[in-house]
């Protein structure tokens, strides 16, 4: 049975149909043969009975006149029938009066006569007893025995025919089985092929071709559904992988930019410190002209502040991505804050700076985080200065409903439509790092802070015509700030 379980569906199907055909045919053959045997026996029995009756009729006179020669002559006429092996005639007293034995092996003696007529089949073959009557008087008995060699011959011939039919039927069953298995096994094999090619080529868009209905059809359908799922999953995973690798690439890029940015102020800082050290070691420090020393120190201070800003930005990014930004809300008059920041970024003493035009609504007062709001303003205005090509910058504030709208507008290089979508992302910048310094974190941080304050930020821009950044904030950030960034 283990061998059977290991058989292919094709094999099982073939085996099944052949087995069924074989069993059915064997039963039929057995039924036909056994029926034939009984029919043959009956017909042989009846024909032997009538033969015995004819012999009896022919032998009546000879029996009556005790003519043994005539009786034996009559009996020997039975020798023409090959199946007859022994024939006897008994007189009215039951003693053997005539006997005929077919040539060949000894046929034995005549059995004691029986009074009943009819045929019976025994070990020695088929035997018949028929009485001989003359004018209603029983004058003797005829006995005929057949060895049923005709039956044996008939049976062996029929067995050959049955064998031939069996072979033919087997061949037919085999042919039918092969045709049927094509309906069952072929779709399964096709499905297997599909599964194989899917897993080899890793192509999840391949589908098994539907083949009719039934269980196999359902299986094919289910298989295709599964492939649909796998294809969706695969696409999603591919997309995720792409996103992740893109993010990784961006991070690596950022790391290289960040290290470069951090390194940039360090080199002059170290040179300045070494200069001062050299002066101190040689005792020249006291004699060094104070204005030159002052310039040296203020240069160093600029580098340090630049480093501090960079480190602050990095810390902010770390905080923001960890969701650890903490807000300290307080009552703030927006116009004062804007003026303060602008003043800090554009001291009157620096004439090269672009002009910053303010259009402020002095009535706007809200609940915000001062430091973060400053950060937003610094980032946006610094960007406007950086990419504004020296042209005037507009900063406007207004109330739109219960919301503050803060605009920072420049007339600089502008941002392309494609870049507008991604500039608020982490480590993203529209321009290459080689031409413009900075970590590219400003807008990301701005975006995150604005979100934390419960507002939104967007950009309107056209290449070559400048950009306008709008920050929309609720007047009270404590009511609408994102819960995770709630003031604590």
């Amino acid at each position: 049975m283990k061998g059977l379980a290991g058989l292919s569906i094709r094999g099982k199907l073939v085996l099944m149909s052949i087995g069924t055909a074989l069993v059915a045919l064997l039963f039929m053959a057995a039924a036909v043969l056994s029926n034939e045997v009984s029919v043959f026996r009956a017909s042989v029995g009846e024909s032997f009975r009538s033969m015995a009756q004819i012999v009896g009729a022919n032998a009546t006179a000879a029996l009556v006149f005790h003519d043994r020669d005539a009786v034996n002559e009559t009996l020997s006429s039975l020798g023409r029938k090959r199946a007859v092996v022994l024939a006897c005639i008994f007189d009215r007293e039951g003693t053997v009066f005539g006997r005929y034995a077919a040539p060949g092996p000894p046929r034995g003696d005549c059995p004691p006569p029986e009074w009943s007529s009819g045929y019976k089949v025994g070990k020695e073959g088929l035997s018949v007893f028929e009485p001989v009557f003359l004018k209603g008087e029983r004058i003797g008995t005829v006995y005929v025995r057949s060895d049923l060699s005709d039956l044996t011959e008939l049976l062996s011939r029929n067995q050959k025919i049955v064998g031939l039919i069996l072979l033919g039927a087997m061949a037919l069953a085999l042919a039918i089985a092969f045709r049927i298995q094509r309906f069952i096994a072929a779709p399964l094999l096709a499905l297997t092929d599909t599964a194989k090619s899917v897993s080899l080529k890793k192509d999840y868009s391949i589908r098994a071709s539907a083949m009719g209905g039934g269980e196999v059809g359902t299986l094919v359908e289910a298989f295709n559904l599964m492939l649909n799922q796998i294809q969706t999953q695969d696409a999603y995973l591919r997309h995720s992988l792409e996103e992740t690798s893109k993010a990784l690439r961006l991070r690596d890029e950022f790391l290289s930019i960040a290290s470069h940015e951090l390194k940039t102020p360090l080199t002059p800082l170290m040179a300045q410190i070494q200069t001062i050290q050299r002066l101190a070691r040689s005792g020249m420090l006291a004699k060094y002209p104070p204005d030159k020393l002052q310039k040296l120190l203020s240069l160093s201070d600029r580098q340090v502040s630049r480093l501090a800003v960079l480190v602050d930005d990095l810390l902010d990014v770390a905080r923001l991505s960890a969701g650890k930004l903490k807000l300290k809300l307080e009552r703030i008059a927006l116009s004062d804050l804007v003026r303060e920041v602008v003043e800090r970024l554009q001291p009157e003493s620096l004439p090269s700076r672009p002009q910053i035009m303010l259009e402020l609504d002095d009535s706007i007062i809200g609940q915000w985080d001062r430091v973060r709001l400053e950060q937003i303003l610094i980032n946006l205005i610094t960007n406007a200065i950086k990419y504004g090509e020296g042209k005037p910058i507009h900063v406007k504030s207004s109330l739109e409903g219960d919301k503050l709208h803060l605009l920072v507008e420049d007339r600089g290089m502008g941002i392309s439509r494609e870049d507008q979508g991604r500039i608020f992302g982490r480590f993203e910048r529209a321009v290459s790092a080689t031409h413009f310094g900075g970590l590219g974190l400003g807008l990301y941080i701005t975006h995150q802070i604005v979100q934390a304050l419960g507002g939104r930020v967007w950009v309107e821009s056209e290449l070559g015509k400048g950009s306008r950044f709008t920050v929309e904030l609720p007047l009270d950030s404590s009511l609408s700030a994102a819960p995770s960034l709630q003031a604590g």
Binding site: A57, N58, T60, A61, A62, V64, F65, D67, A70, L134, K135
Partner: protein
């Protein structure tokens, strides 16, 4: 002591003669028993024409010396021809044979065979059909219907079909199968 062998020889011869005679007698008696049985069997294989309604019995007649003794009477007891009981008769005159259905012509009457044949043939339709049976040489040749013969110790019979048919008798083919049939020339 010389007389004794002569006496012995005489006795031996006597015994021999007696034995031979007795054996002959015995054989002869046995032969007629069989012939009587055959006569009885003939009834089963031969069909007689319907006898005139006046006859009440079927006569089996023996003309001449009776070789059967009581055997024939014994064997014929209870037999019937055409529904009439069989009666065995011994006759001597030809006229007495008119009602016989079987007429056995004894060897002693062999000279009268031709006249008996003529007598039987001269009967008219409506008379009793007579089966002439005999065992004298050339009985059938001379016109008898059935003649007993002995062949290698067995008793058989010759049938003169023409004679039987002339008497209006039908003999079964089964019986004819056992007989020597004398065909009309």
């Amino acid at each position: 002591m010389t007389r004794k062998p002569r006496h012995n020889r005489f006795i031996t011869i006597l015994v021999c003669i007696f034995a031979l005679t007795y054996a002959d007698l015995y054989a002869s008696a046995k032969e007629y028993q069989v012939k009587a049985a055959y006569l009885t069997h003939f009834l089963k294989f031969i069909q007689w024409p319907e006898p005139p309604p006046s006859s009440r019995s079927a006569a089996i007649c023996i003309i001449g010396e009776d070789p059967f003794g009581s055997d024939l009477n014994e064997l014929m007891k209870g037999e019937r021809i055409n529904g009439r009981p069989v009666e065995v008769k011994r006759v001597s005159r030809m006229e007495d044979t008119r009602a016989c259905m079987i007429l056995f012509v004894s060897q002693s009457e062999r000279e009268r065979v031709p006249s008996l044949v003529r007598f039987v043939r001269g009967k008219h339709a409506g008379d009793v059909g007579t089966l002439l049976v005999g065992d004298s040489p050339d009985f059938a040749e001379k016109g008898g219907a059935i003649q007993f013969i002995t062949e290698s110790g067995k008793i058989r019979f010759i049938v003169n079909l023409e004679a039987a048919e002339a008497a209006g008798l039908k003999i079964s083919s089964r019986m004819l199968a056992l007989a020597k049939v004398l065909r009309p020339r």
